[in-house]
Symmetry: C2
Subunit: 282 residues, 2 copies
Amino acid sequence: MIITNNVKKTKRILNVQKLDNKVIGFVPTMGLLHEGHLSLVRQAKAKSDFVVISIFVNPIQFGRGEDYGSYPRDIKADSKLLMEEGVDLIFCPNQKDMYPSDFSVFVDETELSQSLCGKSRPGHFRGVCTVLVKLFNVIVPDKVYFGQKDYQQALIVKRLINNLNYDIKMYVLPTIRENDKLAMSTRNNYLNDNERKDSRCIYEALSLGKELIKQGETRVFVVVDKMKNVIMKKRSTKIAYIEILDAVNLKSLKKIKGKILIALAVYINGTRLIDNIAISVK
Amino acid sequence: MIITNNVKKTKRILNVQKLDNKVIGFVPTMGLLHEGHLSLVRQAKAKSDFVVISIFVNPIQFGRGEDYGSYPRDIKADSKLLMEEGVDLIFCPNQKDMYPSDFSVFVDETELSQSLCGKSRPGHFRGVCTVLVKLFNVIVPDKVYFGQKDYQQALIVKRLINNLNYDIKMYVLPTIRENDKLAMSTRNNYLNDNERKDSRCIYEALSLGKELIKQGETRVFVVVDKMKNVIMKKRSTKIAYIEILDAVNLKSLKKIKGKILIALAVYINGTRLIDNIAISVK
């Protein structure tokens, strides 16, 4: 396994693989890898000839007052895990190589990013789209792997790949959950024991929403209100958003019908967690 | 010579060349080719193994009320010229393939595009950057060729290539001029005989500016005012801008010194023409 922080070296290594007609699988991450990431890595490993993982905490996708500074990093532990998975290359660029002082080119998505996390974290998806275009241009992958936990991100990346004519096949894999159903996330590390217990309300709320809809409820506000009650029972919580949207275009629904997404972002004290369920309603 | 409007077919053809380790030279154009374009094509031909020219009048780089609809197109004449130059592939995509109804991803440059044409044509460089990223992703060129007539565009493209980690070498070639020194431009076709004569004032103004600076004038407003007088002598003219800027970062100058750019945009009746001279001042 090669570990490099150098853009040119990474390109050189990958060019050799490309000329050898190897299929490049790529999983972009911000590190501190958990089973969610590893499920993507394993799929990449199973379906490509050469697997690249990037580890880069991307400053421009964090807003002011967000957790860029405190976001946990442990490249040693990550490397060990990725070595065990048989990954071929870890690319962990420096911030100043990725964003030199003359950096002034940004990639923006203007429709799908108007709701949910795009609305509650202005500039977030601009940061995500920009860094992904950079990473795609360095790695030139044939296949990329993302998790459904970041549902909106996955839709936006799919749009980006299609709109900008990248020759990349994208795979979105199911959310991996802890035993108590909390969605795996690097930010779960921020939670103390009590907060960790309180965080169960997130999946409970989603499950209640799903259940109500399965029982025939078609009014968005009724489902959302009952979900809110579940979250607000815990003192440590603050709701950023709970929304039920069209799962394809993330637009508001007059009535719950078709492919829909129940998505939420909740703060447990200071920690912002997101989760979602996508379902089909006849 | 292959002519195609199909993205997938174009990628397939170029993949074969890439796997064969061929150097791909690329010149993006909006068609109606003149000697300015052809100087780029010839350089590409001399320095690459496989030469691709795109012909695409890019709607999103035109503002409201600009000449997108009337911009001249003549793919037959262009093909004939390019065939004679020994070009390998002409890529002339359809508008709806380039911009499907769900198009929502855009590329923006936020510093160099704040002055000159970026200021007088809001959204123009966003359109240019977006279409170039798309074309770069389809063609995956090793070398690209641009003209110095579009000086600001060339600086922005260079920034885009570097900032977004494209593995592309960029060449900027000198402005090609008519016998009377008017910079070659597809838009020169809009001019009638009188307008064509009046348009000479553009190069006269630039030359006067250069001369004044060479004689030791260091005050921007003095040079610009004298240039304005040259332009305004002709009744058909309207000045969009005349500016003297730092040639590297396009920022305002307190004093004319170092690498500087004299740039202007002038309407001859309805026709918007641009031109520039870059010089070094001790």
